[in-house]
């Protein structure tokens, strides 16, 4: 289980939060003109990387505010939390823990948050 550092309330137990899926998803412009396929992609397809993932959380049982988060989905390590209106942060210094698209991190699956 994660400890999430709400930008407004500070670190709290994950059970206070709800996950909102991928962040920075933009509704396509000119929706009247775009085809079914493009529209379908916007509605149904979300990024699902093994590694760095930009996502949204809401502090449902706290301040009820939305914010963004960058998390490594191969280890669950939270790398950065930022406010909903902030730019997507660049994480150039961060090295992926998996070397191949479906590889496993060195520490073993799920152990990162425990052993670090």
């Amino acid at each position: 289980m994660l400890i999430i550092d709400c930008p407004y309330c500070g670190p709290r137990d994950q059970s206070e939060f709800s996950n909102g899926g991928e962040a920075h998803v933009k509704r396509p412009d000119g929706s009247a003109d775009i085809g079914d396929r493009e529209w379908g992609e916007y509605v149904f397809i979300r990024a699902n990387p093994k590694g760095i993932f930009y996502e949204r959380w809401v502090h449902s049982h706290g301040c009820r505010k939305w914010f963004n988060c960058v998390r490594d989905t191969s280890t669950d390590e939270i790398l950065k939390i930022y406010k909903i209106d902030e730019e997507r942060p660049k994480l150039d210094s961060f090295k992926n823990n998996v070397k191949t698209p479906s590889g496993e991190p060195n520490l073993g699956s799920g152990n990162f948050t425990v052993k670090k």
């Binding site: 289980m1 994950q14 085809g35 079914d36 396929r37 698209p101 699956s109």
Partner: protein, 416 residues
């Protein structure tokens, strides 16, 4: 040589201390080229190779698996098998599978321990009752055995259940007598052994790194054991199907999340059917060893860590103890997670795609074990014929553009 299992072979080998059992499959190095490469050595992938060889006469096939056979969700699931889904398309698909399960041990001459002990889905409120009764009727129209049980009938079948004295009382249930459980590993091993006998190369510790395409056609797979050319590639990698599709520039409507299960210490027989509740979220059956096999829920967030949050376990155990107070003092032995690939409509994708020769079988999410033989069977057809079998035609990728979804959130929920 065909490996035969019988009471005599077991007796003979028992006398020799079980040291002389033949290897169940070879461990070949990959060839340069295959007609078909299947990525993923779970039940669905191995079954696909089996049916490709058996029913479609293809022999030059490889299954590549990054770890060990069945080490993915096949070996991590709670093995509930049923076919009582709402919509015609799903009912036909899961029933096709259930029919194959009924004969699988004989067909493979390998005991998959399919036990038709019945599956119960509990109703805890007015809405559940309506929804479940509707599903029972839909099942009956599709020729699927499914009936409504009153509270009294449930109490008779499962006397240890607390039906009244809890926050969400038990008001009734659907029951599918032909549903049940099977032995997870055995399904993978049985398919692997018989596919191997027909010449399929099963290659473990071989991870697919990149699916290579050229001018809209498949070229092969870059793997940890080098590049392997292929005419056709089928991706059956459950939670990892999405990341593999990305390597070919294809985005799939999948989200990967941990799903957990746990087992208790073994006890004497106490529950002889499978009981599921979507509303309070607790599933239980008892294994042949006597352990309670308990299914929990998925985490709310995407993750590839095969562990899952403790809060999910807490919720499930809470519901278990309320429904079965007698389990309150039991010890749990093990807990684990598997990464499930969830589709927006809680239905699978068994489909070709824009790239010629590339096929996907994924999106089984929390409930694909029951579908193992059926999914493998129609996927083999799809790969061999370059078009869907009638049974899987609705489960194509185009549905996410056309909007013709197969919404099984009710029958699947996080249910298995």
């Amino acid at each position: 040589m065909k490996k035969k299992y019988s009471i005599f072979s077991i007796a003979k080998n028992a006398l020799k201390g079980h040291k002389d059992w033949p290897k169940m499959w070879r461990s070949p190095e990959p060839r340069e080229f295959y007609d078909v490469i299947i990525i993923g050595g779970g039940g669905h992938g191995l079954g696909t190779a089996y049916y490709l060889a058996k029913e479609h006469g293809l022999k030059n096939i490889a299954v590549i698996e990054k770890g060990w056979l069945g080490g993915g969700n096949t070996g991590r699931n709670t093995t509930i098998i049923r076919s009582n889904y709402l919509w015609d398309d799903s009912a036909h698909l899961y029933e096709h599978s259930l029919k194959l399960w009924e004969n699988l041990s004989t067909e493979l001459n390998y005991n998959v321990m399919f036990s038709q002990r019945g599956v119960m889905n509990l109703a805890h409120n007015e809405h559940d009752i309506k929804e479940i009764k509707r599903r029972v009727s839909a099942n009956n129209l599709n020729g699927i055995d499914s009936l409504w049980l009153s509270k009294e009938e449930i109490q008779k079948k499962v006397p240890i259940m607390n039906t009244d004295n809890l926050r969400y009382p038990v008001l009734g249930a659907s029951y599918q007598p032909r549903g049940g459980t099977a032995r997870h590993d055995a399904v993978a091993w049985g398919f692997a052994m018989r596919a191997d006998e027909m010449g399929v190369d099963i290659i473990q510790n071989c991870e697919a790194h990149q699916i290579k395409t050229k001018n809209g056609k498949i070229e092969g797979v870059e793997t940890s054991k080098g590049f392997i050319r292929a005419n056709k590639v089928g991706v059956v990698a459950s939670g990892h199907t999405g990341v593999l599709a990305e390597t070919a520039g294809i985005r799939l409507p999948l989200q990967s999340k941990p799903l957990q299960a746990l087992v208790s210490e073994p006890i004497k027989p106490i529950i002889d059917t499978v009981v599921m509740s979507s509303a309070v979220h607790a599933y239980v059956s008892q294994s042949d060893k006597g352990e309670l096999v308990i299914g929990a829920g998925t985490d709310s967030y995407n993750s590839f860590t095969q562990r899952g949050g403790f809060n999910i376990i807490e919720e499930t155990v809470r519901a278990m103890v309320e429904l079965y107070p007698v389990f309150g003092k039991m010890k749990m032995l093990r807990q684990w997670g598997g990464i499930v690939d969830i589709c927006p409509d809680a239905s699978p994708i068994i489909s070709k795609c824009d790239v010629e020769g590339l096929f996907f079988n994924c999106g089984w999410g929390t409930g694909g074990f029951k579908a193992t033989p059926g999914s493998a069977n129609v996927f083999a057809h799809t790969i061999a014929k370059n078009e869907a079998h009638q049974i899987n035609s609705a489960f194509n990728l185009d549905r996410f553009a056309s909007g013709k979804l197969v919404d099984e959130h009710g029958a699947a929920a996080v249910a298995h």
